[in-house]
């Protein structure tokens, strides 16, 4: 091989290839382990079913079943962010990949970005399966009011969510094993807080003033506003349950996305420097 072939001087080209390279195992991996499809498609449907029955039993409007199915679909992304983004760098360090990643000339954002987009693509196929099955089984009626806005909100929600995952990835790396517990700790409260199975408006309706603050607090998790906005656009008959107008939610999500990605970048740079100084983060030496 000749030298000019091997060394890429354009960092944009290099980082694009690195990004694709890192995304690849996530996308391909999904189709190699068919059991995961079962766990990630059918199991979420079970908890979804439970909520659908509860709403039906209480005589809630039919669109509430749609709320729940959309929430159950988005759970896949939250789990992916928590366990395959946030915990990822720590895990990469343990198996010895991280030092090879850090030694490569690629940008660290290509690494995180590849991880994130690979995860999104993989999870999207599963989420789509959950959504389609749910809609068919429970005969949900979707009214797509504004497809462009809907797509925009979905994408920005994912970027913000995975941006948060990137940030967590660096933080987890710093705290090692203890971070694992954070993931466990976050899982259930976020299921509640982000309103996967009910509109966050409920906080305010049930708890009054303090409830509003809870809703604002959980809006830091991009899933919350994303879900709320998508529900408004898919089930307009329940607009009274909206927390904030969808377009405002989109703007907030854009800000969250930018802030998370920016912070993730800073955090990883900081951690890399710390690792090189203290010699304990990129090494398997513990």
């Amino acid at each position: 091989m000749n030298r000019e072939d091997a060394r890429v001087s354009n960092p944009l080209v290099l980082n694009f290839r690195a990004f694709i390279g890192r995304a690849y195992p996530r996308v391909i991996g999904a189709h190699r382990e068919l059991s995961w499809i079962f766990f990630n498609t059918l199991l979420p449907l079970l908890s979804v079913a439970a909520y659908v029955f509860v709403y039906a039993a209480l005589g809630a409007p039919a669109a509430f079943a749609g709320f729940v199915i959309l929430g159950g679909t988005m759970v896949a992304f939250w789990m992916n962010v928590l366990w395959s983004m946030a915990a990822q760098l720590y895990w990469e360090k343990e198996i010895g990949n991280l030092q090879l990643y850090m030694m490569a000339p690629m940008s660290r954002m290509a690494l995180l970005g590849g991880m994130a987009v690979g995860g999104m693509v993989m999870t999207s196929t599963r989420a789509a399966a959950t959504l389609i099955l749910g809609v068919l089984i429970f005969q949900i009626v979707l009214v797509v009011v504004n497809p462009l806005l809907l797509a925009g909100i979905f994408l920005v929600t994912l970027v913000a969510l995975y941006g948060m995952g990137m940030l967590f990835a660096s933080v987890y790396l710093l705290y090692g094993r203890e971070a694992w517990n954070i993931s466990n700790l976050l899982q259930e409260p976020v299921f509640l807080g982000a309103g996967f199975y009910f509109p966050v408006q409920s906080f305010q309706r049930i708890l009054g003033g303090p409830g509003r603050w809870i809703a604002i607090g959980v809006s830091l998790i991009p899933m919350t506003l994303g879900l709320d906005a998508m529900r408004q656009l898919l089930f307009p008959e329940l607009l009274e349950w909206a927390f904030l107008p969808a377009d405002i939610e989109l703007y907030i999500l854009i800000v969250l996305a930018v802030v998370f990605v920016f912070l993730a970048r800073r955090a990883l740079a900081y951690i890399e420097r710390l690792a090189k100084q203290e010699g304990r983060l990129t090494q398997r030496h513990l």
Binding site: R7, A18, G21, P25, N97, Y101, K276, T282, L286
Partner: protein
Amino acid sequence: MKDAIRTKELTRVFGGKKRRLRPRDAPEKRVIALDRVDTQVAEGELFGLLGPNGAGKTTLIKILATLLLPTSGSATVAGYDVAKDPYPIRQRINMVSGGETSGYGLLTTRENIWMFSQFYGIPSKVAKAEIDRLLKEFELWERRDAKVRTLSTGERQKMNMVRGFVTDPDIIFLDEPTLGLDVSAARAIRQFIRGWIQENHAKTVLLTTHYMMEADELCDRIAIIDNGRILACDTPERLKGMVKREVTVKLETDRLKDPKAFDVIEGVQNYVVKEEAQTNRTSLTFILEDDAPIGDIMSEVLNQGSKVQSMEKIDPTLEEVFISLVGKGLD
């Protein structure tokens, strides 16, 4: 000739200082892993680092691979400072460690190597062709589509080697690349390294090892390192020449009339005689102060009307060099 690697007073200390955000389990003890190391590796050299566990070999490699910062002193790789200018270094280096478990078990051998090649921006087509060529060279072709988690230790290490070499680095760091491998896998890897450096004159290899024989056989120069210090650095031959040691000579002659006659020769410290009845020969093992008495021994054999059938001088090995410098062997 240009320097591929150069270190000046390179020092690395672990622990001791108060750490920001230090996890509870972080070690408190201060360890000087490298202690004012000065080395110079020329372009085209196959340079070995030989040292016991904890000597600082991996620490040195990690600093050179831009994964760790020096505590003090400096290091340059391919002319760039590891602390100030890591990016151009990263484009030109790669590293393979023994017992490495890198990659993803779900991917195939080929996919894994391809993924790592992409982190260097190598065009996919170029990378794939090169991966195939290297897999064949390592006799791993049959396992190209096997999932990585099904590879044996030897196969896995060969895959790691392909991963390291596929980016065509100018300088490659090999940290105990044959660790835990069987004889044939280790041989394949050594052969590859030797071939690579012979074919590519401007390429440089920095290799660490526990195996004396490996260092001796492969390296142009060897640094013996212990406790973070380089104790000696030279060609294997010259290192061996450093150890003052008796010369051992094995001699086989036609049956001698008077095998005790060698007592009087000056410089003969000791010798052992064995009569081989079957072949009607005598075999002698001499321990000599130096080479000088060899001539006298030969004349004595001839004087007795006998002939020398074979003579073998047993050289000191790196083992002895190591023991004399470090004060212990390499298990």
